[in-house]
């Protein structure tokens, strides 16, 4: 009788389906996983420690770099925590803008997840389809904040500026990649305001989701790779700390936007999709429906924002800077501006936890202030961290190829897991 031993396989950190820098030590019996030990931290940048050495405003752009595919949702949790500590009100228009951008971000995130998940388990075409729509959303990001990825658009007390009246246009390049006629066609929906462009997108997008679904939902290979893989019962899902689509895929109707509404989520109309079996396929369906619902929310926000102009940031100049005009005419406002950007705002002593329904799950910020101009302690509660810790339990007994499907379904982004 030959001596049969388990294999130990090192997976990553350079594996394309490791989504960046995951190293996993897999103990295998043949091709069946006996134990999965993820080694994380290869992208650890000590964001929380850095924030302790920055003023409240300076720490804000770090949030974009956590989960770098859903930037504005990270910012949202941070500014909400700061606002709760400061006890300030956010203008209603800013709340609608935030909700709209949270949902744009949700689509942005789910599109990347769908493309990458498909790519990981053999559906190459998905990536090309989803990046087509992502491009438009990135343009919206760029038009509003100046950056396609790291927007830094939200501020404690509101958002940095109001929505622009125009969208940037494509230009004919010297390289002659597109003819003048083609460029004109590409600019077709960009002649109006940004809201027009977003509305045009929301009208197009449901058809796009249908396209993705025709490629995957009834696809035999897709189902073979996802149905019955990584099944989690509702009880285990809660004990393991799973949140967001991971929890809803197991049939728990839990969504912070409904259960603990923040901003104006109680004023918009949307549904929460819930899975039945708690496998990768159900989580796929949940996320697909979430994109449709996000689209619905964006539509309502666009309609509201068209009708209701107003301020987009608080007029408390201890928190938000005064207008440029005011600053140049008024000594007090000049001093406010100077103090705000040199010393920063002072946040009253206290501690607060603020969470948002991030595309990946519950993203929370635990902020402790001792009255200084810098946070005393900031803890980022990243959904991916909890999901990753469930890897061992979920992967046991599955084939090695299913580990890749699991990573896809977790929607892993290492920026937030390692922080």
């Amino acid at each position: 009788m030959a001596d049969i031993r388990n294999y130990t396989l090192n997976f990553g950190p350079q594996h394309p389906s490791a989504h960046g820098v995951l190293r996993m030590v897999l103990e295998l019996d043949g091709e069946v996983v006996q134990r999965a030990d993820p080694h994380i931290g290869l992208l650890h940048r000590a964001t929380e420690k850095l924030a302790e050495h920055k003023t409240f405003l300076q720490a804000m752009p770090y949030m974009d770099r956590l989960d770098y595919v859903s930037m504005m949702c990270n910012e949202h949790a941070y500014v909400m925590a700061t606002e709760k500590l400061l006890g300030i009100e956010v203008p209603i228009r800013a709340q609608y803008i935030r909700v709209m951008f949270d949902e744009i971000t949700r689509i942005l995130n789910h599109l990347l997840w769908l493309g990458a998940h498909g790519l990981d388990i053999g559906a190459m075409t998905m990536f090309l389809y989803t990046f087509r729509e992502r491009e438009d959303l990135m343009d919206i990001y760029e038009a509003v904040s100046g950056a396609r990825l790291h927007a830094a658009y939200y501020r404690p007390g509101g958002v940095y500026r109001d929505l622009p009246d125009s969208m940037p246009l494509y230009e004919v390049s010297k390289m002659k990649v597109h003819s003048a006629q083609q460029v004109a066609a590409m600019n077709d929906n960009r002649h109006g305001s940004m809201l027009d462009f977003i509305e045009d997108f929301t009208n197009r997008f449901p058809v796009c989701v249908d396209e993705y679904e025709t490629l995957l939902t009834d696809n035999r290979i897709w189902k073979q790779r996802t149905v019955g893989i990584g099944v989690v019962t509702p009880e285990r899902a809660m004990a393991l700390g799973l949140t967001g689509p991971m929890l809803r895929g197991s049939g728990v109707a839990w969504d912070l936007r409904k259960k603990q509404p923040y901003e104006v989520y109680d004023k918009v109309d949307f549904d929460i999709p819930v899975g039945v079996n708690g496998d990768c396929y159900d989580r796929y369906l949940v996320r697909m429906e979430e994109m449709r619902q996000a689209n619905r929310i964006i539509k309502q926000c666009v309609a509201w924002l068209r009708k209701n102009p107003g301020p987009v940031i608080t007029d408390n100049h201890k928190v938000a800077p005064p207008s440029r005009v005011g600053m140049k005419q008024n000594m007090e406002e000049l001093i406010h501006h100077f103090k705000l950007f040199t010393e920063g705002m002072h946040v009253p002593e206290g501690e607060v936890y603020a969470a948002v329904e991030h595309p990946k799950g519950e993203f929370g910020i635990y902020l402790v202030s001792d009255g200084a101009n810098k946070p005393y302690r900031m803890k980022i509660r990243a959904p991916g961290f909890s999901h990753m810790s469930a890897m061992d339990e979920m992967a046991r007994g599955h084939m090695i190829a299913d580990v890749v499907a699991l990573m896809g379904t977790f929607d892993i982004v290492f920026g937030e897991i390692d922080r």
Binding site: I40, G41, H44, A46, E48, K49, L50, H53, K54, T55, Q58, K84, L85, G87, E235, R236, M238, A239, L240, G241, L242, T243, V252, W254, K259, Q260, K318, K339, T342, E343, G344, H346, E349, G350, E351, V352, Y353, A355, E362, G364, Y366, V368, D370, G371, A372, N373, K374, Y376, R377, K379, R381, F385, S386, M388, S389, A390, E393, D418, R419
Partner: protein, 195 residues
């Protein structure tokens, strides 16, 4: 209203295990005696009026420089956030390990499986020991890392830096050459400063 309810339930069910409770910004914080931490966690999860099925977050905290020395209690703190999906409520729990030089509390990873990695993280970053944890290894810092990086006495630039040494032909560690600097000084202002 809901907060009052939760407060009463906690008081009734935890009783002596509770040191104090406080509310701020509509959130309830309860301080638990470190020796009762595990029993309290069991009650928090299982009592029907509480039913905190999910551990949202667990983190360490170093209070040694809090308020520029105003803090007089224990140096370390373990802060836990719990969520009850069935009762739709949250609570924040604080446990102060008694010994500052060897901070140790019981592990709750047997009660909430999700606590496993959070406790590893608190151990890695703050050096808090979780008694009874199945696998207390470092999680975020490098293999062979020395020290606990999030303690307030650990410099932000770290203690060692890494470079390739052409003479030895390998990567070596050496003491950091970065000059410590502060862009914006930390200031605590008196009450009502600036109007």
């Amino acid at each position: 209203m809901k907060l009052e309810n939760l407060k009463q339930n906690l008081q009734a069910l935890l009783g002596e295990k509770l040191v104090r409770m406080s509310g701020y910004a509509g959130q309830l914080t309860a301080e638990i005696r470190p020796e009762n931490w595990q029993e309290a966690a069991q009650i928090l999860r299982d009592a029907p009026a509480l039913r905190f099925e999910q551990l949202t977050d667990l983190c360490g905290m170093d209070l040694s420089t809090y308020g520029d020395g105003r803090w007089k209690g224990a140096r370390f703190c373990v802060v836990t956030h719990l969520l009850s999906v069935s009762n739709n409520q949250r609570v924040r729990l604080k446990v102060y390990p008694a010994d500052d030089d060897f901070p140790m509390v019981d592990s709750v990873s047997g009660i909430w499986s999700g606590a496993n990695w959070f406790e590893r993280e608190a151990f890695d970053l703050y050096g808090i020991i979780f008694n009874g944890h199945p696998d207390l290894r470092r999680i975020l810092s490098d293999y062979g890392f020395i020290g606990h990086p999030f303690r307030k006495d650990f410099p932000i630039s770290g203690n060692v830096e890494m470079r390739y040494d052409p003479e030895q032909r390998r990567v070596i560690y050496q003491p950091v050459t970065v000059e410590p600097r502060e862009l914006t000084p930390r200031i605590v202002r008196e009450e009502g400063y600036g109007g």
